[in-house]
Every structure is written in C-alpha cells, then in structure tokens.
C-alpha cells in the first residue's frame, strides 16, 4: 500500500503517529514508555547468560532446558513477548548451531533482549544460510571442517537460542562467574564462549 506519508521523514512520521494514537486514547504514553525502558535497560543478554550458566552447572536444569526451553527459562523468571516458544539448541564439540530470522527479525526477547543491528541486516539474513562457515569466519569464529554447522531459521512461531559449549578450565567457577563469560553472540551462535 502506498500512503501519502511515504516520503516523509521517519522522525516526523513516528511523532505524528504517536501523537494521534495518544490523543485518541488508543495508546497510553506511560505504557509505551515503559516498554521502551524495559527493553533499553532491563531485558537483555544477561538473562540468557544466567540460563546458560545454570544449564552448565545443573544437569537436571540442562535436561529441562533442552526438553522445554520456554518452561525452563520461565523458572528463572524470564518470560514475555517473543518468548512463547523458545527452543534451545545445544552445541557440542562436533555440532555448532547458529540462529537467523531470514524473513524479518524474530528473536527470543526474554533471554536476549532486542536483536543487534547486524542480526536484522539483509546481508546476515541471506548469507548465513548460503555460506555459514564464511560468515562465521567474518565474525572471528573459525570452525574446523570436522564441525557440522546447523543454521536455524526463527521465522516461525519458534524462537531459537544456542546453549554454547562450556569453555575448558572453568571447572572452579561459580554460576555467577560463568554467567559473566557468556555473550549475546555466543547465544546467537556467531561466537563461542572464551575462558576467562
């Protein structure tokens, strides 16, 4: 659909749409601002990092997480929009998982927050499917030829999150210390977790 607003600066269009919706009582400005603040400040990869650290230190939790991602993640208090059906993919020494949304930007918000810009970029969305090994190398992740790469497309009801390999030499670390090692990129599958 072509609208008369097509050529107008998005700054003005966003302001215009917001002011009209608020005036008409369709959007509560406080609710809108609360959503923004929540995803700017409170929901982010530190949530997923806690999930990963728990899975690394509690075998029963890990089993529940792989069987029912949404349920096990909710045990830690993480739920909400885009988290209704989270599937957790376990990396092993022989299998590396990486996640994309080829059609738009589906992403497990409750555990990772909002996606980084590269995740939404047309280049990543098309190339990671065609040439995953090359794209991962560009992220600095060189995987051996003996490692199988599996690409998962989140473009359905399912939102994927990767359970990275626990790095060697971290046996003595606490759950909290482990969580501090886990990065967003490792949980999307474009990186591995490095030992401290």
């Amino acid at each position: 659909m072509t609208t008369a607003a097509d050529d107008i600066d998005p700054v003005l269009r966003a302001e215009a749409l917001a002011s009209l919706l608020i005036e008409r009582g369709l959007v509560d400005e406080a609710v809108m601002n609360n959503f923004i603040k929540t995803y700017e400040q409170s929901v982010g990869p530190m949530n997923g990092a806690k999930v990963v650290a728990r899975a690394w230190t509690d075998p029963d939790y890990r089993e529940r997480l792989l069987a029912d991602g949404t349920g096990a993640i909710a045990e830690l208090g993480f739920k909400g929009p885009q988290g209704e059906h989270i599937v957790v993919l376990e990396n092993t020494p022989g299998v590396h998982n990486v996640v994309v949304c080829t059609l738009c930007s589906c992403y497990p918000w409750p555990v990772l927050g909002l996606p980084p810009s590269w995740y939404k970029d047309p280049s990543y969305r098309s190339r990671i499917v065609r040439e995953p090994r090359a794209v991962l190398a560009e992220f600095g992740l060189e995987l051996g030829e003996d490692v199988t790469i599996r690409v998962f497309d989140s473009s359905s009801e399912v939102r994927y999150m990767v359970l990275p390999l626990r790095p060697a030499g971290t046996e003595g670390l606490s759950e909290e210390e482990l969580a501090a090692l886990v990065t967003r990129d490792a949980m999307v599958g474009v990186a591995q977790v490095a030992a401290p």
């Binding site: 659909m1 609208t3 008369a4 607003a5 097509d6 107008i8 998005p10 700054v11 003005l12 269009r13 966003a14 302001e15 215009a16 749409l17 917001a18 002011s19 919706l21 008409r24 369709l26 959007v27 509560d28 609710v31 809108m32 601002n33 609360n34 959503f35 923004i36 995803y39 700017e40 409170s42 929901v43 982010g44 990869p45 530190m46 949530n47 806690k50 208090g77 993480f78 909400g80 929009p81 059609l103 738009c104 930007s105 918000w109 927050g113 980084p116 939404k120 970029d121 047309p122 473009s155 606490s174 909290e176 969580a179 501090a180 090692l181 886990v182 990065t183 967003r184 990129d185 990186a191």
Partner: protein
C-alpha cells in the same frame, strides 16, 4: 501477550555491577534514535492493548522488508526501523485506528513548527536537547489543536 513490565521477579532487574552484570561484549545501543524507540513502543503498546495483532504486524513487517530488499538490491539505505514504522502504519490504518492521510497531515503540521520547538516529548533524554524554558510558543499550529 503479557507485558514485560509486569515482572516482579528480581532476576529482571538490571545488575550493573558484579559478576552478573551485562556481558561487556554486547555493548550496542538498542535504539539509534528516539523515533526508533517510539515506533517500537507504539507497536508493543498497541499489541498489549489488544488493538493490533502481533502476527498481523509481523506479516506486514515481512512484506515491507522483502519489498524493500527487492527494490534495493545493493542494500544501501537500509533502515530496519523505517520498515518497522511503515508496517505499523499499515496495520494501524487497516484496523481503522489512524489513517495514512491523518499521519501525513500531522507530520506536515509538525514539520511546520519553528525549529527547536519542543514538540518531541517522549520522556527520553535527548543529548544536546535544551528545552526553551521561558519561550512563548504560540498555540496556533501546535499538535494539540
């Protein structure tokens, strides 16, 4: 959809120091401009209020993105949130909440406001933004007329 604002669990609170602090490798601003956060917040608020359906919005976004990509093979000029905002406008218009013409009219009104007019009041900090305290803004042309 249950809003994230309802979580009382302490695990949801941001821990800015100590071992549970956000991983440092993840530093990136979630929104690169206030209008992006506004477009985001509007979509969530409308969904939360049951006025739009998230799946409708997602399908509109998929269509908007694929249309943009088909028209811009080089990828130059890509703006994810511009696609987001256009999708939201389409869904809001299709639901009869706010028509495209009304958005265009209001945007034109806003564009006609004098420079520095404090019309963008989204409750966020604007770097370098200095409210014109004491200045007398004429009511004519203001967004609330």
């Amino acid at each position: 959809m249950s809003g994230p604002g309802g979580h009382a669990d302490p695990a949801y609170r941001l821990d800015t120091s100590g071992p549970a602090a956000p991983p440092r490798d993840n530093g990136e601003l979630v929104f690169s401009a206030p209008w992006e956060s506004k477009a985001f917040g509007l979509a969530l608020a409308l969904t939360d209020a049951g006025l739009i359906d998230w799946e409708d919005f997602r399908q509109a976004l998929i269509g908007q993105i694929s249309g943009w990509e088909a028209a811009h093979p080089s990828g130059e000029g890509w703006s994810y949130y511009d696609c987001w905002l256009r999708s939201l406008e389409r869904v809001v218009s299709a639901k009869g909440l706010v028509g495209a013409g009304a958005v265009a009219d209001r945007a034109a009104q806003l564009a006609a406001l004098p420079p520095g007019h404090d019309h963008i009041d989204d409750g966020h900090d604007h770097p370098g933004h200095h409210p014109h305290a004491g200045h007398d803004h004429p009511a004519a042309g203001h967004v609330h007329d």
